[in-house]
Amino acid sequence: MLLFSKIWKTGIATEMLQAGDPAAIEIGRALERRIKRLFGRALAIREVDAGSCNGCELEITGLTSPVYDMERFGMHFVASPRHADMLLVTGPVTRNMEIPLRRTYEAVPAPKFVVAVGDCAKTCGVFKDSYAVVGPVDRVIPVDISIGGCPPEPTDILRGILQGLDRFSQKRETTALTLEPVAAVR
């Protein structure tokens, strides 16, 4: 009974979806075509927070919101780097996250595609020279493309991924022939 009275009192708690950023839709469509050609299936993304202030995470979460809804363009977040094609790394790499980040990178199947999101991931931003920080992401693992902004908007992130995929297609052709041996970290 409580449930029904609550439903009655609350009314409709959602609102009509406003039309999103048309630029984002356009980039999304381009991404969709590119992903389909490169992978023949959806792009699996693993997000790693290497020490971010969570500003970038807010924007990345926006990608899955009804406005951007990146799953319709064939991109989705996965729960393990073993399932991922691409790593999305945010924040300056803190000392605590250095080894976990490296291990995550090793766990991704080759060819590995790394996108560093935000100013911190690119240059350490305001945390530069902090005692707690090892350095930007490319000090720890090879980065394919960095997306600037503090934080970058969802559209910027989509655009960055699109540019990165171009490099990725070249990388894939070379790595398919020379798969580097991976030593397990003990």
């Binding site: 780097p81 073993r82 080894i99 976990p100 798969l179 397990a184 970290v185």
Partner: protein
């Protein structure tokens, strides 16, 4: 002398000789060897007798009228149904006895091997004689020999309080069965002097419907308490873990099947063509047993208790087959009914094989890890690869996955239930689909349970020092497990041939027989007589093998390379066994779904730092699943018995005067009775 009679004599002499010789053995070690020697000779004799009955289709008979002639003497008659169960007893006892030779070595300094040898062989003799008995006296004698000797086998580790408790439960439940068994036979005899089964069969036709119903209910309860149907199953999860593992294998694999034998003998052979509700009751009891058995197995983390609960489940599945068959038989769909009966009998055989195998596997694991708690195992597949492989075969078979034997028999039982659609009666239209649903749920949960049992025990990293230092068990134990594992595979692949071989058994029993020649099914296909469904385990195996081969070839030909790396552990620096998935965690989602059934108790205690409650010093969480129906059914009974005993104890006050009064009162009462009856 006929070959069959000779084989029976070899069997009895083997078991009796094993019992006596091991009692007289000079050392503990030689007692172990003689125990196995007698058992092996007995098993070979039993198998030979069964084979001769199968080959000649002539029952083996032996009558010793002068042995306790007041009760009708000892009458032995091994017909086809008896031979089937005799073969089942012998076939599982043989590997179990050889396995026990090495397995019992660790018990040498804890208990007497001589007494164990006596009881073990007496147990095998009792089990072998039950399906051979052809009169009430012989049957009850063999039944009690089996019950009493197995009680002593359960009590092997009697210094353990849990074992004594288990022994008490077992003794109480098994004698409850006897208490119901005797009135059942007396009612069947109907006041006449008839004691042989042949007389009972002819006499049963003249019984009134009410008497027949009472006899049926008594038989269901008496044999059900041995077979372990819910709610009479309470002794299984207590007694099976307490006994040495090869004895558990025999009790779970074979002894409880003799409960099924008794039920089939009374319900379908001595009193055939009962009313429809008999079958309906079997079906209902079977469905409930199967579902509750697997549900309790799911939350059990003691490896042997888990297997014991699975026995309850499988007995339920067998009863479903018998119940469905009996209902179909009752409405005249006799050819279809044989599918249910064949499925039930085949599942009896299959369960004996894979449950025996699983208990032997569990025995090897327990011997090495010194614990029955799955949460302290792990990583055993690296340390005991052969045991792990055998246990895996048993797990796949009991989970009814093709192409092993569990699949074939459960498929037949499913088909017999689906055949209920041919009967247009409302109670069947409602009842059969519910039974199908419960059986399907049971099979699914059983598969989940064995993913847990195998995964937690054998995979990942060892969770305790004992598990880390486990070594592969003795070759003789492994060889016996492989024999049983091989039989699971062969029975699975050759299922259509086995079913063909079973048709004469079914035809020989009046209540099971189709009464018409069945259409000969093709060699490779299991088939429903009306042709509505068919499946071929062998072709399935070939297909699965081909798929596996194709995947392997694709990996090799595709140039894919194998990369060896650590298990993904969320990037943490060090991984310890404490971070592994546990059996409790695996079962937790299902425990929540079925919380209404389990009624778990939970206790969470958090101790905080005295300065601030934000600093937590320790968190203790305990949760138990206590079967509520055990409380509901048995607490009043045990409480009542206790209260009654306290009342009766007043009679024995220790006062001599009171006892003299009793004597005088008894005398006066006797005199008064004598005067009155004059």
């Amino acid at each position: 002398m006929a070959f069959g009679t000779f084989a029976l004599i070899v069997m009895v002499v083997g078991y009796a000789g094993g019992a006596c010789l091991s009692l007289l053995a000079r050392s503990q070690r030689s007692a172990r060897m003689l125990t196995a020697l007698g058992a092996v000779v007995g098993c070979v004799g039993g198998l030979a007798a069964a084979v001769s009955v199968f080959a000649t289709r002539v029952p083996v008979e032996a009558v010793l009228p002068n042995l306790v002639s007041a009760a009708g003497g000892v009458v032995i008659r091994v017909d086809l149904l008896g031979a089937f169960f005799l073969a089942l007893v012998a076939a599982v006892s043989l590997p179990a006895a050889i396995y026990g030779t090495t397995y019992m070595a660790e018990y040498e300094d804890r208990c007497s091997m001589r007494v164990f040898g006596l009881m073990f062989n007496a147990f095998l003799l009792g089990m072998s004689l039950v399906p051979c008995a052809a009169n009430i006296f012989t049957f009850v004698l063999a039944w009690e020999l089996m019950a009493v000797s197995s009680y002593f086998l359960v009590m092997t580790e009697s210094e353990n309080a849990d074992t004594r408790q288990a022994g008490l439960w077992y003794a109480a439940m098994t004698h409850l069965g006897l208490v119901l068994l005797l009135p059942m036979f007396f009612l069947m005899a109907g006041g006449s002097e008839a004691t042989s089964f042949a007389d009972l069969r002819t006499g049963a036709a003249t019984l009134t419907a009410g008497t027949r119903n009472v006899v049926f209910l008594l038989a269901l309860a008496a044999f059900g308490s041995k077979a372990g149907i819910v709610p009479l199953h309470v002794w299984l999860p207590r007694a099976h873990p307490a006994a040495p593992s090869h004895v558990s294998a025999l009790m779970s694999g074979v002894m409880i099947k003799l409960g099924i034998y008794g039920l089939v003998r009374v319900m379908f052979d001595l009193m055939p063509s009962g009313p429809a509700w008999w079958g309906g009751l079997l079906l209902a009891v079977g469905s409930v047993s199967a579902l509750l058995g697997v549900l309790y197995a799911l939350v059990e983390h003691d490896l042997k208790r888990l297997l014991a609960y699975h026995s309850v489940e499988n007995i339920g599945i067998i009863l479903i087959g018998l119940g469905a068959g009996s209902i179909l038989h009752g409405v005249g769909l006799r050819a279809l009914a044989t599918i249910g009966f064949a499925g039930a009998l085949f599942h009896t055989l299959n369960h004996a094989c894979f449950k025996g195998l699983l208990f032997l596997g569990a025995g090897s694991v327990v011997q090495q890890t010194h614990t029955r708690n799955m949460e302290e195992m792990g990583g055993l597949i690296k340390r005991m690869p052969h045991t792990a492989l055998c246990f895996l075969v048993g797990s796949v078979a009991i989970a009814a996955l093709p192409p092993l034997n569990g699949f074939a028999s459960e498929w037949l039982i499913f088909q017999s239930l689906l055949a209920g659609t041919y009967i247009s009666r409302p109670e069947i239209a409602v009842g059969f689909p519910i039974a199908v649903g419960m059986l399907a749920l049971t099979s699914g949960l059983a598969a989940a349970c064995f993913v847990k049992a195998f995964g937690i025990s054998f995979l990942a990293m060892p969770r305790s020092d004992h598990a880390a230092h486990a070594r592969e068990c003795h070759w003789s134990m492994r060889a016996m497990m492989m024999v049983l594992a091989g039989s699971c595979v062969v029975l699975g692949l050759a299922a259509p041939l086995v079913i063909r071989g079973m048709n004469p058994i079914i035809d020989s029993v009046p209540g099971l027989s189709a009464g018409e020649p069945l259409p000969r099914s093709p060699q490779l296909w299991l088939m429903v007589p009306n042709g509505s469904a068919q499946v071929s385990p062998l072709l399935m195996a070939v297909l699965l093998g081909a798929i596996a081969l194709a995947v392997l070839l694709a990996i090799h030909a595709g140039g894919l390379r194998v990369r060896r790396a650590d298990t993904w552990g969320c990037g943490r620096i060090s991984q310890t066994p404490r971070m592994e998935y546990t059996a409790s965690a695996f079962a937790e989602p299902l425990r929540r779904v079925f919380a209404e059934v389990y009624q778990p108790t939970q206790d969470l205690s958090i101790s905080v730092h005295p300065e601030s409650r934000y600093f937590i010093q320790s968190i203790t969480y305990t949760s138990h699943v206590v079967p509520w129906f055990e409380k509901a059914f048995y607490d009043p009974v045990t409480g009542g018995a206790r209260a009654l005993a306290t009342q009766i104890r007043r009679l024995q006050a220790g006062s001599l005067h009171l006892y003299l009064l009793y004597v005088v009162a008894a005398l006066v009462a006797a005199l008064a009775f004598a005067w009155w009856s004059k």
